[in-house]
C-alpha cells in the first residue's frame, strides 16, 4: 500500500489533527531554532547566549515573540496600505503550506487509523515545495515595494533576485533526484532511497542543493537582502510588531522546510540507514525521530555557516549562482540522463553502439563545457559588456526632452506635515533608527 493510498483514506478528523500537528511542529521548530541559533552562535563566539528566560534560556524566543505581538505597529505614511498589509501574509502562508508534502514518518496507527506520518502525498510533491517558495517571494517583493522607502525596496529586489537565482540551481539539482526515483512524489523519493541515499549517489546534486538552499532562504553567508551595513533591515525595514514577526516566522519555517526537503531528497527521509524496511528502527514513529534529527543536522549547518562565514559581496553571490551552480547543474543533469540511459541499455543488453554514444556524450559535455567556461576567460578584455549592469539607474540622455507626463501621473512627493524642518530633523529621525535597531536585536541573537 503506497503512502498516497494510505493517506487518501484519512478521515477528516485525522487530517485536521495532522494539519494542526504540522502547524504546531513548525511553530515550535521556529521558536526552538531561534534560541538554538543564538545559543550555538554564542558558543562559537565564546559567550553563553540567551540564558534568562525559562530553563536554560530556552523560552527566550517565546518571550520575544510575545513581546513583538504587543509592540506598537508603525505603518509609514507612504506605504501602500493594502499591499503593505497583505505582504507578510503572502510570505507566511506558503511557508506553512510547503511543509505539507514532506514525509516526516512512516506508516503508523493513530487512534486505530492506519496512516502515514505525512500530511499529503501528491504526485507533484516536489513541485509544491518549489511553487510555495516561488510564491513566498511575492511576499518579500511586495513588502519591500509597498513600504514606500528606498531601503526596503532595494532589499526586496535583492532578495527576490537572490531567491529566484538560486531557485534555478535548486530546481536543476532536484531533477537528477527525480530521474533516479522516477517520481515527483516525496514519499516515492523516500522509498527510492531504501537502496541508497541520494547524497552519495548524486553528490553534485546534493552539494548544489545545499548551497542553493542557503541562498534560497537568504541565510548567511548569503543574507544580502538584510545586510545591515548596506540596507538597514532589508525588505522588512518598515515592518514592526506582528507583521514583522510573520516575516520572521516565514524565514525560519522556510529554513525548516528546505532542510526537511534536503532530508527527504538526499538523506533518505525518515528512514534509518542500513536497515530493512521491516526493521523496528524503521517503525513509523521512530521515523519521526530520525527525520527530525536529520533535519536538525541541516539546520545546524545553517547556524554553523552563519557563525563562521563572512557575507558575500552581491556580485560574487550572483556570480556563484549563475556562473557556477547553474551550468554545473545543467551539465550534471545531462550527464546523469546519459548515464541512466547507458545503464538501462546495458541492463537490457541492448546497447548497440556504445562507442557512438560515448562519443556523443563526450562531445556534448565538451560543447557545454566550452560554452560555459570559455567566456569567463575573456571576460575582462571584452570591452562591450551590456551596460545595463553598469550604472544601474537608467539615465536619460543629455538633451532628451522628456515628454510631460499626464496630470494623473504626476509624481507625488512624500507629503510631510509642515513644520520647521531644521528643528524637527534631529529628533524626528532618531526614533525610527532606534526602533529598527531594537527589532534587529530581537532577530539577531548575537547582536
Amino acid at each position: 500500500m503506497s503512502t498516497a493510498e494510505l493517506i487518501a483514506d484519512d478521515p477528516v478528523w485525522l487530517v485536521l489533527v495532522k494539519v494542526v500537528g504540522v502547524f504546531a511542529f513548525l511553530v515550535l521548530m521556529t521558536l526552538f531554532m531561534i534560541v538554538w541559533e543564538r545559543k550555538v552562535v554564542g558558543r562559537m563566539q565564546q559567550r553563553p547566549g540567551p540564558n534568562r528566560n525559562g530553563p536554560g534560556g530556552w523560552l527566550q524566543s517565546l518571550a520575544d515573540g510575545i513581546k513583538l505581538a504587543f509592540k506598537e505597529e508603525v505603518r509609514p505614511v507612504l506605504a501602500d496600505k493594502w499591499v503593505y498589509f497583505i505582504a507578510p501574509v503572502i510570505a507566511c502562508v506558503p511557508a506553512f503550506t510547503a511543509f505539507s508534502v514532506i514525509p516526516i514518518g512512516g506508516q503508523v496507527s493513530i487512534f486505530g487509523e492506519q496512516t502515514a506520518l505525512q500530511l499529503v502525498d501528491l504526485p507533484v510533491g516536489v513541485l509544491v515545495v518549489l511553487a510555495c517558495s516561488s510564491i513566498g517571494v511575492y511576499g518579500i517583493v511586495l513588502g519591500g515595494w509597498s513600504s514606500g522607502s528606498p531601503y526596503p525596496l532595494l532589499g526586496a529586489l535583492r532578495s527576490a533576485a537572490q531567491v529566484i537565482s538560486y531557485e534555478i540551481a535548486m530546481g536543476l539539482s532536484i531533477i537528477a533526484v527525480v530521474m533516479n526515483s522516477r517520481s515527483l512524489s516525496t514519499a516515492d523519493i523516500v522509498d527510492a532511497q531504501t537502496s541508497g541515499w541520494f547524497f552519495y549517489l548524486l553528490p553534485v546534486s546534493f552539494v548544489i542543493y545545499v548551497i542553493s538552499m542557503v541562498g534560497e532562504t537568504n541565510r548567511a553567508p548569503f543574507d544580502l537582502p538584510e545586510a545591515e551595513s548596506e540596507l538597514v533591515g532589508g525588505f522588512h525595514t518598515e515592518y514592526s510588531s506582528f507583521k514583522f514577526a510573520l516575516f520572521f516566522l516565514a524565514e525560519y519555517i522556510n529554513m525548516v522546510t528546505v532542510s526537511a526537503l534536503a532530508t527527504t531528497l538526499f538523506l533518505g527521509g525518515w528512514r534509518f540507514p542500513f536497515v530493512d524496511d521491516d526493521h523496528f528502527l524503521n517503525n513509523g514513529w521512530l521515523g519521526l525521530v530520525w527525520f527530525v534529527l536529520k533535519t536538525l543536522a541541516f539546520l545546524f549547518l545553517f547556524i554553523w555557516l552563519r557563525g563562521t562565514l563572512p557575507r558575500l559581496r552581491y556580485d560574487q553571490f550572483m556570480q556563484l549562482g549563475w556562473k557556477v551552480l547553474v551550468p554545473i547543474a545543467l551539465v550534471w543533469f545531462v550527464a546523469v540522463a546519459f548515464a541512466r540511459y547507458v545503464r538501462t541499455e546495458i541492463e537490457a543488453g541492448t546497447l548497440g553502439a556504445p562507442t557512438v554514444l560515448a562519443v556523443f556524450g563526450a562531445v556534448l559535455a565538451a560543447a557545454l563545457l566550452v560554452a560555459f567556461l570559455l567566456p569567463d576567460n575573456r571576460e575582462r578584455v571584452d570591452p562591450d559588456a551590456v551596460p545595463v549592469t553598469g550604472g544601474g539607474f537608467p539615465v536619460p540622455p543629455l538633451d532628451l526632452a522628456v515628454p510631460k507626463p499626464p496630470p494623473r501621473r504626476q509624481v507625488r512627493v512624500a507629503e510631510l506635515p509642515d513644520g520647521s524642518p531644521a528643528g524637527s530633523n534631529g529628533s524626528a529621525a532618531k526614533e525610527p533608527a532606534a526602533a529598527t535597531t531594537a527589532k534587529k536585536e530581537a532577530s539577531d541573537g548575537d547582536a
Partner: protein, 99 residues
C-alpha cells in the same frame, strides 16, 4: 464538478484580460492582461483535456507557458527600452505614431 464552470471561469478571465488590454493605459498592465488571457486559455485547455480524457491539452498548456514566458522576456525588454527613453510606460504617452 461539471467542466462548464471551468470553461465559464476561463472565458471570464479571458474577457477580463481582453477588456483590460483595451481600457488600461499602462503598457505593463496591458501586458499583464495579455498574460491573464494566456492563462485563461491554459485553463480552457486543461479543462478540455480532462473532458476528452487526453493529455494533449495539458501538454499544450506547457507550450503556452513557454510562449508566455518568452513573451514576457521580449515584452519587458521592449517596454524597458522605451521606458529608458521616455520615462513613462503609459501607452497614452506613446503618441508619435498617431495617424
Amino acid at each position: 464538478m461539471t467542466p462548464t464552470y471551468y470553461l465559464l471561469l476561463s472565458a471570464l478571465l479571458f474577457s477580463i484580460g481582453a477588456v483590460g488590454v483595451l481600457v488600461r493605459r499602462n503598457a505593463i498592465v496591458v501586458f499583464m492582461c495579455v498574460e491573464l488571457m494566456l492563462n485563461a486559455v491554459n485553463l480552457t485547455l486543461v479543462t478540455f483535456a480532462r473532458v476528452n480524457g487526453q493529455l494533449d491539452g495539458q501538454v499544450m498548456a506547457f507550450f503556452v507557458m513557454v510562449v508566455a514566458a518568452a513573451e514576457v522576456v521580449v515584452g519587458l525588454a521592449i517596454i524597458m527600452a522605451i521606458f529608458k527613453s521616455r520615462r513613462s510606460a503609459s501607452v497614452d504617452d506613446s503618441n508619435l505614431l498617431k495617424y
